[in-house]
Amino acid sequence: MKKIFLAIIFLTISVWLIRLYFIGNLMNYIVPKYSIIVLTAAIIIGFFGILIMIYSKQFKAINKNISWGSLLLLIVPCILGLTVSPAPLSSVAAFNKGIQTDISTVKISTPANFSIDSKQRSFAEWISFLESTTNPEDYIGKEVKITGFVLKNDELENNEFYLARFVMRCCAADAKPVGLKVISDKEITWQNDDWLEIKGVFQNSIDDKKSPEIKLSNAMVVSIPDNPYIN
């Protein structure tokens, strides 16, 4: 009985992870560069799942060595993997962790590219660029086109919001939100967690921290990108 359960658990975990790898949803959970080790582990687990199925009779010690407790615990990720559709962290987690608005403390691993046209820079490239530049003229007045999700709280005026992304080094456990303040002419109707592609221009808001604001010119709702995090 335990053996059949275990074989099903192993195969479910394996198929779930392999599927996540190939449809790209693994990036909701871990940094892309580590997905290959997850795939390798998933294949090994699947192999042993099949082994238990085939040689079920020979594996006598399994019934003795494995407790129902471990089996019950292992069913949890199986059920969640099968039923929950992968989603990135939400605004609730962002507010609980605290939004970083001072760009100089973000420490992102994407390299800063100084030669690229400002409109071509992604959210991650902008953060990395803002982090490394010391000259405000490098960004003030420059056009931006970036994608992120909306964060609004009571401290903001009703024509302001943060366009945010989570910065992830390893997995969602360490993800921290970084936000750029966006200012519109009109009242904001988007809600928290709406994903937007915005166009605008950087303007100065520098106290002594590095937190430039974006004057909004245009925004449209988009679907969640393949990699919702920046690394």
Binding site: L6, I9, I13, L17, L20, L26, N28, Y29, I30, Y34, I37, V38, T40, A41, I44, I45, F48, L51, I52, Y55, Q58, F59, A61, I62, N65, I66, S67, G69, S70, L71, L73, L74, V76, P77, L80, G81, V84, P86, A87, P88, L89, S90, S91, V92, A93, N96, K97, G98, K107, R169, C170, C171, A172, A173, D174, K176, D193
Partner: protein, 292 residues
């Protein structure tokens, strides 16, 4: 939304940590079947202090966490390894091994003090505690049954592959089960405990270090994966507090105490827990004051 975030963090820790359990168990199962413990004992020097040092490094060859090492230690003690050397091995091996070090580097790429601190402190504490225990007699440390029992770990030819698979499947299920438990606690506490409360605990070095050790003790997560778990607290807690978690957890937790009481007397275990607790507290508090 909160529930969704908890599930995302839970699955994220589970997915990131699972490969390290798989690779760790794979290697430990290979060694379990193909390496004879007599070969290790034959190369050991007579000097007890040197024994402690060498046994601390044995984790390089047994790259598993606590649960995999305790049966190894039990077997070695039955083959006449001094208990103090076995203690050094049990305390150091869960950290001083390649898989755990790689996992720690992946989890904390920008914190060399955590990577080196973890390696250095684990090594030092393992040697000191082993050295202290080398003044006690076998009767004081070991339970009676282990001193008489001799187990047969002889594997018959042709059955090695079978024994390997069985060992792998058993260990993997147990450790992955504990990982589910630990990842669940990490995900829930990260998203449910108010930030203000966490910050107020984290701001007091003594409280922060003690609560991180208590957390490590309760969740009993494997050393191959505890670095990913600690990440969940890296926003609020300082490096010394995270180190206390990463050094204390692999040495002492509920799960390993349950396994160790099949080798050591309760009194010896109490001394062991107090010694390790004291040393980790002292060294991490010292670190806090040095870095301030």
């Amino acid at each position: 939304m909160v529930l969704q975030d908890i599930i995302t963090v839970f699955l994220s820790i589970f997915i990131e940590a699972l490969p390290f359990i798989v690779f760790g168990v794979l290697i430990s199962s290979l060694l379990h079947i193909f390496v004879k413990s007599e070969q290790i004992l034959a190369t050991l020097p007579k000097n007890k202090f040197l024994q402690n040092i060498i046994m601390s490094f044995l984790g390089v060859f047994f790259p598993v966490c606590e649960c995999g090492n305790i049966p190894v230690a039990r077997k070695l003690i039955q083959k006449n390894l001094p208990p103090s050397a076995a203690i050094s091995f049990l305390l150091a091996a869960p950290v001083l091994n390649p898989i755990v070090i790689i996992a720690t580097i992946i989890a904390f790429p920008d914190n060399p003090e955590i990577i080196w601190g973890r390696i250095g402190l684990s090594f030092m504490i393992a040697i000191i505690v082993g050295f202290i225990f080398s003044f006690a007699t076998k009767d004081e440390i070991l339970i009676k049954s282990i001193q008489v029992n001799k187990t047969c770990d002889h594997h018959h030819r042709g059955k090695k592959l079978h024994a390997f698979s069985e060992h792998f499947i058993g260990e993997l299920s147990t450790m992955a089960g504990i990982l589910v438990f630990g990842a669940g606690i990490a995900a829930a506490s990260q998203n449910l405990i108010p930030k203000e409360f966490m910050v107020s605990v984290a701001e007091n070095p003594f409280l922060a270090i003690c609560s991180m050790m208590l957390l490590a003790f309760i969740i009993s997560i494997c050393s191959t994966t505890d670095a990913f778990f600690a990440l969940a607290y890296a926003h609020q807690f300082t490096s010394p507090a995270l180190l206390a978690f990463l050094v204390f957890g692999p040495m002492i937790d509920i799960k390993s105490l349950l396994l160790m009481q099949r080798i050591f007397k309760i009194k010896a275990l109490i001394y062991l827990v107090l010694l390790v607790f004291g040393l980790v507290l002292f060294s991490t508090l010292l670190m806090t004051h040095l870095t301030l």
